[in-house]
Point group: none
Chain length 210, copies 4
DNA sequence: CATGAATGAGTATTCATTCAT
DNA sequence: CATGAATGAATACTCATTCAT
């Protein structure tokens, strides 16, 4: 009858945070429930009071990540301003979010990996997240096309490339923490929005010889 | 001294190919030695005549992939022609190689994931591969800068973005086979080299001859 | 000193009844303390205020069952009338008691099973109950022998058969609730007392008056 | 390629026999897979080469027992001779079989207990075995009725009692090994076939007073 | 008295690896 | 060389019991 000291939701978050730290350190596959419990400073059995299974911890981390991603996408879709500016903001936000919670980000590899091999209940639909991601950016590109700030005719293919640039930078950073993820917003925007080629004069570099 | 009917190296390759098919189908974590043996049509114990451990199979797949990557990088570095053209060729070759061997490519996730958590001997230095990858592209960008075909001042950061665009597209395809990886060479080249923005003066770089 | 609203003994009985319902439903092995607490509408920890352990709940159910059995046996021993009549009454009472409390009866399997494997303190001496059961019936048979209503020379062996017939019918009913336990008093009496064979002379024992 | 020393079927039987010994000694619930492996003199994992699960060991024991029971029933049904003689033989065979393999018999309690609590695949249909058992005996009784050796009108109810007498004796012996199961064939036949009452004179002991 | 959160001992099962044939 | 039976270390998960509130 006496109220518990720590409320269930808070304790759940503590455990999840501990799990994320462990997963980030050793990878999901090599993380034992005991590791998570020890990191959280509780008994092994207590983890199961808050999560149904080891897998459920990864699912919960996925939910957190997805929620953050959807926030960013929602903002990109609904905020005012020129489309390309909003795209640049989106890129910056993704990188800033990730830099702010490196542990959460470092389990990206495990999230990417999840949902393969067999019929999971909800296969951690990373595919769905990325599909939405591409759709939003494709819409921004088309909008920018109408505004005259982007080349016309851009669509899903180019959105895939931009998503790829963002997530591919994250990938490199996850594999190799030396990669300065926090400093890449500018370069991504510069490369994807402006390309690397010189402009101003007709540029025939990609063509054959005259 | 006469070569056995099936020589050791060939048998090894057969087993490795079987392993790659299995890994591609179920993921490395869910792949059992029995699965590999069955796929190769041999006894379970025989796998160990050619590979030291389950992990060694993944290592070997990594070597294959690395070898292919180094070929492509070597060619980009040493072939003649304008730097940006060679970059475009590189991008095309990566995507073509990957599309040609989807099984090998689909274990990318496992390769990215490998070598984390614990002190492995040589932890599948994916980081080294990508570092080299970035270096080669950064060199191409600097060279293009000198040629006047690329903006000056480009370097590692922009190379990271381009590597990201390529690998990020692969990532999306690995997660979701619907992504039309074979059709993305053009968009990657277009976006990374020319950007998506309209430019002050008519920019004909992507087009044919006037 | 004034009795609590719900006195301890009554609460204990409530919990025991709940436990018996749960055991009857799922079997002792599959019954969790939480199930019992939920069935009793109390907190899990409270069960331990009234019972020392999960096992103690089964012990208590055993005591209840034993008490009922001993009542019946006592009555058979001490009530007046011809021995075989008292035996017929005993059979009827066992079956009626069991039919009246199907839940208590359905845990018979668990009671029979209890006390095996390892050195329990007092291993639920079902063996003792049945030994007493046999003794009482053997005495009745000997008494009937002296009365001239039963064949002479009957004893423990025949008592074992009669106990077997009774408990064997219960067994069949416990295994298969379709067995009409309530209707078996007559047949048990008829078979055990009169046998199934025809006899040389008209045997009217089971019939009415000529 | 070299043939294994012990063929799979024989090894399977060895393990099953070991399991039956262990189950007989400690009961199924208290028997650990390690106990079975130790009793069989093999490694724990090897048990799983021959049986899918701990439960499967009990299932296999059940099959053995069922097969023996069906043999006996088949013989009782199809052998020649007066029905009641065949019934007496049946009773003798059940008791002899059980006495011959006390370990197998002593797990009867676990078999009776199995298949409760939850939806098992094939719930160890002990109920079906007993139903068949009753049917066969009821048929014998009806046949004996036609032969004039048994009272007419006997049927399922009386068969239930006879099955009860047999299995109830086994039950008592399982609970208390002191019960001389091997010596009970005679008494069961005597009691069930001839009853305990005196015959020859009109016996009114069960009736009211004149 | 009552509670239910916390605990950790206990176990079935899996699977990489070995090695006798 | 090839095999697959045997092994046992490793691990997720359960649940009776305790105890702080």
């Amino acid at each position: 009858m006496a109220p518990r000291r720590v409320d269930k939701a808070a304790r759940r978050e503590e455990i999840l945070a501990a799990a994320v730290r462990v997963f980030a350190r050793k990878g999901f596959a090599a993380s034992r429930i005991d590791d998570v419990a020890a990191e959280a400073g509780i008994g092994k059995g207590s983890v199961y009071l808050y999560f149904d299974s080891r897998e459920a911890l990864l699912d919960a981390a996925f939910e957190n990540m997805t929620a953050a991603a959807e926030d960013i996408l929602r903002r990109a879709r609904s905020s005012p301003g020129p489309a390309l500016d909003r795209l640049a903001v989106l890129i910056g936000e993704v990188l800033r979010t990730v830099s702010a919670e490196p542990d959460l980000a470092r389990i990206l590899l495990d999230l990417w990996n999840a949902g393969r091999g067999g019929a999971e209940g909800l296969p951690l639909s990373m595919a769905a997240v990325y599909a939405q991601y591409r759709t939003v950016i494709a819409d921004l590109l088309r909008e920018a096309g109408k505004e005259g700030t982007a080349r016309p005719g851009l669509g899903l293919a180019e959105a895939t490339v931009i998503v790829g640039a963002i997530e591919g930078c994250l990938l490199q950073w996850v594999i190799d923490p030396q990669v300065p993820i926090a400093d890449l917003t500018g370069p991504i925007v510069a490369v994807c929005l402006d390309g690397v080629r010189t402009h101003g004069r007709p540029d025939r570099s990609a063509g054959g010889r005259p």
